[in-house]
Symmetry: C2
Subunit: 160 residues, 2 copies
Amino acid sequence: MSADIESRVTADDHQALKLWLRLLACTTRIEDQIRDRLRREFGTTLPRFDMMAQLDRSQDGLTMRELSERLMVTGGNVTGITDQLEAEGLVERQAHPSDRRSINVLLTPAGRRAFRKMAATHEQWVVELLAGWNAKEKTQVYEQLAQLKTHLMNTKSKES
Amino acid sequence: MSADIESRVTADDHQALKLWLRLLACTTRIEDQIRDRLRREFGTTLPRFDMMAQLDRSQDGLTMRELSERLMVTGGNVTGITDQLEAEGLVERQAHPSDRRSINVLLTPAGRRAFRKMAATHEQWVVELLAGWNAKEKTQVYEQLAQLKTHLMNTKSKES
DNA sequence: TATTGTTATACTCTATAACTATA
DNA sequence: TATAGTTATAGAGTATAACAATA
């Protein structure tokens, strides 16, 4: 390998690393802001907000198993979050019509109202935090991220 | 406000939210991969790796206070991570030359060797994970993120 | 036997606050 | 008094594994 090619490879490597560190810094900053605001303004957390978002999309509720898959956390965690939300009257557990092992979790009317209100505010936070980009730039980055996402979904996790 | 403007605003809001969710998905995926690989291939964690990266850059070591600022975590956490790395012989605590309250933390020669090896592998992971973008695209996103970062640094945290 | 959900437990990462030694 | 560092504690957030009920 010639020195030229090698140096180009090295330059490209550092480019990727610098890009990653900047990407991580921006995302972490936004996520921390959202966590902090959810806690202070609504007394909730991101996992709880995410579970309510999943339930809001589904009219008939979701089983613990479905929630576990969609939130990408293990079953024990779903039980814990559901317990908290149920204690506050935001969700309820119902018997599953056809499988007595399963449990259907649904938003209560109060839970749906509370979520809709939080979601609107949350969306305004995101608009504000991403206001460093105009509409055209947002579209560009959105499409560039689509490419990256495709690549990442095809990138196997390293086996142990 | 006319219906047109309002609908444009709404469209833009959803654009920001969709962009944020995609940005978060990509970043989380990469970060999880890196955490997982650090754990499996080097038996270490991201905070430990980050501390060693800071120490590798500084020839004369850093005080606990400096580490706390650079890693953006509180002092108690720095003590804990330092304890772990010291127990494995990767860093050492030394008396500060001019302030007896302070402690200087330095990489040991073994720690520096271990870090350099990990860092090279880590950089290859990042190159691989970001391979969904070519060099030109990486440069574009890098510069777009610079803009966002500037905006985020000027965005005050919400007061309580 | 396999699956659903719960419980118990543990580990990482973080913060706050009380404490000591020193400035 | 103020600062550097340590210790103790707590709370998210996550995982694994043993378990009971049901399929």
